[in-house]
């Protein structure tokens, strides 16, 4: 019993910090954003350590199981969260706002992500999904000072509730058809019934739709662009960088260990959604002037790319898409770090014309942003090339030449869109002045670039171990 409870220690630690935070707020008069960051940091570190220690212990195997696969994703999520907490702290310090809500909600979301990644039961997963989504909703509310943003808040809430309902409906349909919501039982039942059971198939479709919505894939991407434009910068970065790993891990787990026997029925639809995402993302980047929406469209594109590479759900495709995801998140975290460093007269710059001539006044930020853009294009010598190589090689191995052509064509289209940013920063004369940038931002950007460069020069350093850990999902 004690061992069963201990397996939840990482999640427990993430939640245990909440009462302490509220006590600090209640009794300490000078609680700065740094106080909550420090608390979150230590508990996050403890959670990370216990995740590594208990990487193979499972308390309730019918609901929740830890493995090398789940631990890999959790460790990455915790590390990224730690990084983003540190960067967000700078934002809260500059803006002189309380960070309690942000850190508390992020920790709740992290605990739910951890449960979601390890869940072996659709019901548990649905609850975790709802907690993550509601946390995101409350995070979004943190920055809503303007009345017009209330529309975004309401529509996001309606979207969450609608897709929450869809998730529950999917679970109910599957439970009625298969008599259980545990992965193993549903898989056996689907294998036995095949694609003839329309009720079960409909249930699978609904659950997959929720996953596509979470990954902001077209046509379910509408919420994402508005949310990241409206939310405060730390929340935009959080929603873009962190939950993606949890959704990705869960999607792979769901399809490989639950829906595998009926998956071919959905493959064409997923390909269509992926291609649509890439098209919408690439076209959007070419036409958008708001930087947050610009990178939002970029995310929609990259999610489409990710799904294309994942489409066969073989060991190779899971590995290649994981590499791509990792590369994407590293580059995007660099982009958001750079955005944190671009301020003019106390206001964070969010429009393309406002960063014209950035290279002359902020050469290091412009250079970093440039390198991250090159990485996102997938052009050598940046790390993004490794992701592109991995994905295209996998598609060629599967002889999906039409998809390869579509992917390369859309890459050229989105590269053209990225050029607009490069053009604004380097080729356009600027009239804007920029505020002094915190040294911490430079340090994080430099560290990110070092990771990118080391990973490119010596990818075997990590990739071999990642591959071994990823195949434990099968």
């Amino acid at each position: 019993m004690a061992q069963q409870i201990l397996t939840f220690l990482p999640e427990f630690l993430l939640l245990a910090v909440l009462p302490i935070m509220f006590l600090v707020q209640r009794f300490r008069s000078s609680a700065t954003p740094k106080t909550y960051f420090t608390l979150s940091r230590y508990f996050l570190l403890a959670s990370l350590v216990f995740t590594i220690v208990m990487y193979q212990y499972s308390g309730y195997p019918e609901y929740y199981e830890n493995s090398l696969y789940t631990s890999l994703f959790k460790v990455i999520i915790y590390l990224l969260a730690w990084l983003w907490f540190a960067l967000s702290c700078k934002w809260f310090l500059v803006e002189d706002r309380s960070s309690l809500g942000f850190y508390a909600l992020c920790l709740v979301s992290l605990a739910a992500m951890s449960v979601m990644i390890s869940s072996l039961n659709l019901g548990v997963m649905a609850i975790a999904w709802l907690v993550i989504s509601l946390s995101n909703y409350f995070l979004l509310r943190l920055g809503l000072e303007h009345e017009e943003n209330g529309f975004v808040e309401k529509s996001y809430l309606i979207s969450i509730l609608f897709f929450g309902f869809v998730f529950v409906a999917g679970c109910v349909l599957l439970w009625q058809s298969c008599g259980s919501l545990s992965y193993g039982n549903v898989q056996l039942s689907l294998q036995h019934q095949g694609a003839d059971n329309l009720q079960a198939m409909f249930g699978v479709g609904l659950v997959l739709a929720v996953m596509l919505f979470s990954l902001s894939l077209a046509p379910f991407h509408f919420w994402y662009l508005d949310v990241i434009k409206t939310a405060i910068l730390p929340v935009s970065g959080w929603i873009t960088l962190i939950p993606i790993f949890a959704y990705f891990a869960s999607l792979v787990d769901l399809i490989v260990n639950m829906f595998w026997s009926v998956y071919p029925q959905f493959q064409v639809a997923l390909i269509a959604f992926a291609l649509l995402s890439m098209l919408i993302g690439a076209v959007g980047v070419n036409g958008e002037d708001n930087l947050r929406r610009y990178f939002g469209f970029s995310t929609v594109f990259h999610m489409g790319f990710l799904l294309i590479s994942l489409i066969s759900f073989s060991a190779n495709s899971v590995f290649s898409s994981f590499v791509y995801l990792l590369v994407y998140v590293l580059s995007m975290s660099g982009v958001y770090t750079s955005l944190l460093g671009i301020k003019s007269k106390g206001i964070y710059q969010e429009d393309l014309p406002s960063i014209s001539g950035l290279s002359k006044l902020k050469p290091y930020i412009a250079a970093a942003l440039l390198l991250f853009m090159v990485s996102l294009i997938g052009s050598p010598p940046m790390l993004g090339f490794l992701g592109k190589l991995s994905v295209i090689n996998n598609l060629v191995l599967e002889q999906n030449y039409i998809l390869v052509a579509a992917v390369l064509g859309s890459l050229i289209l989105i590269s053209n869109g990225y050029l607009r940013l490069v053009k604004a920063m380097y080729f356009e004369p600027g009239s804007n002045t920029f505020d002094r940038t915190d040294k911490g931002i430079y340090i994080f950007m430099f560290a990110n670039l070092v990771v990118v460069v080391v990973s490119l020069l010596h990818p075997r350093l990590l990739m071999n171990d990642f591959e071994k850990m990823l195949i434990t999902v099968f």
Binding site: A367, V374, F385, V396, L408, L419, V422, Y426, R460, E467
Partner: protein
């Protein structure tokens, strides 16, 4: 000791390290602080010494890649990065470095040197890697990667924002790189990951893949060469750039396409290859004659210069299509002088252009009152048109005679085009030296400084030596 070093890797990484130093240096030309420039000069000179060392380590009588270095880069997919050198690649790398130094000298007085030096050194590092690539993956990586610094240089210094040339540059080159990327991956899987670049021409592949491979090769490498329909971006950029280093770098890029054809064209000629090569020959010859004619009639000196460069590149391409090792080595020797000559001419043309602009002069007769620049400019023009003052004289003769022996019509058209562009250059030289057109009331331009003159004399001596014996420095 030095043999034990991975010299090939070192000459790739040294400019990269130089770039990092230049990036972190404090450079302000307005107060005479040229740190970034000095770092670049030191880096390129140091690399030249190492390139000489590589030459001494090469066995020039052997064909194929030597001094091979191998790094296991990735395990899934299993990719080894292989570097290797042969006489052709090392001669070209040396010429690129010398041209780069001339370009650097040309920007010494210009403002905003730092970005120029940073992206220039990055380009130098990547193009060196490109010529040393020993496998198709490293070949592709360097092939695409060098576009990034070039794009930045053209964008910042090209003065071409309005006419969309930079977008065409981007579109053609990235399209070419994307197609090559796909071809490389298909071939990599077809050959189970074992593909040295020197064996590429001899591999046997089935007809469907061969069709795709040849199409990819033609699109990707042609996108770098100023041949119809890809010539527009390079012509508009070349005629608008007034920065010697950027011009030189931009005009080194077609060489990567030529080199790609040399490495990738199949040895055995089946129907498909014959069809592609014939089509390429027709397009190349038409483009060459057309551009030579425009160059001859156009009054713009920069365009004349561009047409000269284009005609030579197309001549090299046509000669390479014959797949003859004797021609290949002649192209290398010819290219050595050719790159140095165009770099020096661009350096001097820009000097004249800025002097004219500053003093409000027209170019007629301006060389009459400046003996130093008049002498070196005339020398380089004479070298460019093929007089016996550089290796262009003998090697071009051998290349053209080889072309004529294979196809008399093509050979003749090459001679006609060369005559036209040479005539254009000579006509321009005459105009610059024609004392009768000189306006005596206006002030004269200033001559080049003694140091610059000395530097150019050294370059002239290098060219002269190469006309007697291309690898003269090995006997020092």
């Amino acid at each position: 000791m030095i043999e034990s070093l991975s010299l090939l890797s070192v000459i790739i990484f040294l400019p990269f390290v130089g770039m990092l130093f230049a990036l972190s240096s404090k450079s302000d030309e307005s107060i005479g602080n040229h740190n970034a420039f000095n770092v670049a000069v030191f880096t390129v000179c140091a690399n030249l010494v190492l390139i000489m060392r590589i030459f001494y380590n090469l066995d020039i009588s052997k064909s194929g890649l030597q001094l091979v270095e191998r790094f296991n880069w990735l395990e899934n997919p299993n990719i080894d990065i292989i570097l290797g050198a042969d006489v052709f690649s090392v001669i070209i790398i040396m010429a690129v470095h010398l041209a780069f130094i001339i370009g650097l000298y040309g920007i010494k007085r210009q403002p905003r040197q730092k970005p120029l030096v940073v992206f220039g050194l990055l380009f130098l590092s990547l193009i060196t890697g490109f010529f040393l690539a020993g496998d198709i993956f490293s070949f592709y990586i360097f092939f695409e990667a060098m576009l990034f610094p070039l794009f930045m240089l053209i964008g910042i210094y090209g003065n071409i924002r309005r006419d969309g040339a930079i977008y065409r540059f981007f579109l053609y080159n990235f399209l070419g790189a994307a197609v090559l990327f796909l071809a490389v991956i298909i071939l990599y899987n077809h050959q189970e990951g074992k593909l040295a670049i020197s064996h590429f021409s001899n591999i046997k592949i089935d007809s469907k893949i061969e069709y795709f491979m040849l199409t990819s090769i033609f699109i990707s490498f042609l996108s770098r060469i100023p041949i119809w329909p890809f010539h527009y971006w390079i012509s508009s950029i070349s005629s608008s750039i007034r920065n010697p280093l950027v011009f030189i770098i931009t005009n080194i890029l077609p060489l990567t396409g030529i080199y790609g054809f040399m490495r990738f064209l199949p040895n055995g000629m089946d129907m498909l290859s014959i069809f592609y090569i014939s089509a390429l020959e027709i397009i190349a010859v038409i483009t060459m004659v057309f551009i030579a004619l425009i160059g001859f009639t156009n009054r713009d000196a920069q365009y004349k210069f561009f047409s000269y460069i284009t005609v030579y590149y197309i001549m090299y391409l046509l000669a390479l299509l014959n797949h003859d090792s004797f021609t290949e080595i002649n192209i290398a020797f010819s290219c050595f002088s050719y790159l140095i000559v165009i770099a020096a001419l661009e350096f001097l043309s820009d000097y004249l252009y800025f002097e004219q602009e500053e003093k409000g002069l027209n170019p007629d007769g301006i060389l009459c009152s400046v003996p130093r620049i008049s002498f070196v400019y005339s020398f380089f023009i004479l070298a460019a048109v093929g007089l016996p003052v550089s290796s262009l004289f003998v090697n071009n003769f051998l290349i053209v005679s080889n072309l004529m022996s294979k196809n008399l019509n093509i050979g003749l058209l090459v001679v006609v085009s060369q005559t036209l562009v040479s005539g254009a250059l000579l006509k321009n030289l005459y105009r610059l030296k024609d004392r009768s057109r000189l306006n005596q009331d206006k002030p004269c331009i200033g001559d080049i400084r003694r140091k610059t003159y000395g530097f150019l004399i050294v370059i002239m001596l290098i060219l002269l030596m190469s006309s007697f014996k291309p690898l003269w420095f090995l006997e020092m």
